[in-house]
Amino acid sequence: MNNAKILIPLSKLPLLNIEAVSLIYGESDPELILETLQQFQTEAQGYVSQIALIWHTGAAEDVVRYVHSLKTMTAMVGAEKMSRVCRMLERQLRAKDVVEARRTYGLFEKVWLDTLQQLDLHLLTAQGDAADAQ
């Protein structure tokens, strides 16, 4: 499933594609989506913080591991732009291309903030809808 969108330019990829969650989980239950996104928000933020913490320590292997995990997690919730940036960063880190990896890390930070903003917006709306329904 992760090969289909490789040729789409980064700028055209969505920050958050909720339909991907339904496709991956095989159901469109709003509660499941909400629960999944909330868990993602907490865990992914933990990984991003860890990456930021060790980025300057030179522990490249640890960074690769966290970026690799984040790549899959973001893909699982349809955070397609972030997933692509993680893929790029992982490849550059594994190739020890420090110059490109530094450039991409700036993008990584920006796209993560944009993704979080989009995620917050979606969660607020979804929680509001759930409250209205009760």
């Binding site: 499933m1 790549k71 893909a75 699982m76």
Partner: protein, 129 residues
């Protein structure tokens, strides 16, 4: 230990988020699903339950899923194996031809992809290395 006759599957992934995802996908399924984050726990579960199929992540905290599969010999050599990989560098055809695994799936996998592969693996006899 398990009273029903459902085939038992074992998911191994050191990412709790992904294990939770598999749990959500298969909370109501025709299989009995077990979940763990380490190969140590996996070995304990293999001793306790009649596991038919293992779905293991490639990158684990304590090594790789492939190393874990290689170490499963003797009474566990007939257990079916699916390798889950987040990297396109893992060469599925080579690994399956060599009999090291029964299938390789690239993450993220949809529920439908997982079900198809599980069905396919459970319906055939394991070709051992």
């Amino acid at each position: 230990m398990l009273n029903d006759q459902k085939p038992v599957l074992l998911f191994i992934d050191d990412e709790q988020f992904l294990l939770n995802a598999y749990q959500r996908m298969f909370r109501q399924s025709q299989w009995r699903c077990l979940f763990c984050t380490t190969t140590l726990e996996a070995r304990q579960l293999l001793e306790l339950y009649p596991v038919r199929l293992i779905l293991c992540d490639y990158y684990l905290t304590e090594g790789t899923g492939l190393e874990f599969y290689r170490s499963l010999t003797g009474k566990f050599s007939g257990v079916k194996r699916i390798l889950l990989s987040g990297s396109n560098e893992v060469l599925g055809k080579e690994l399956t031809s060599a009999g090291l695994v029964d299938a390789v799936l690239h993450k993220p996998c949809t529920k439908a992809e997982l079900i198809n592969q599980i069905d396919s693996c459970l319906s055939t006899k394991r070709q051992q290395a």
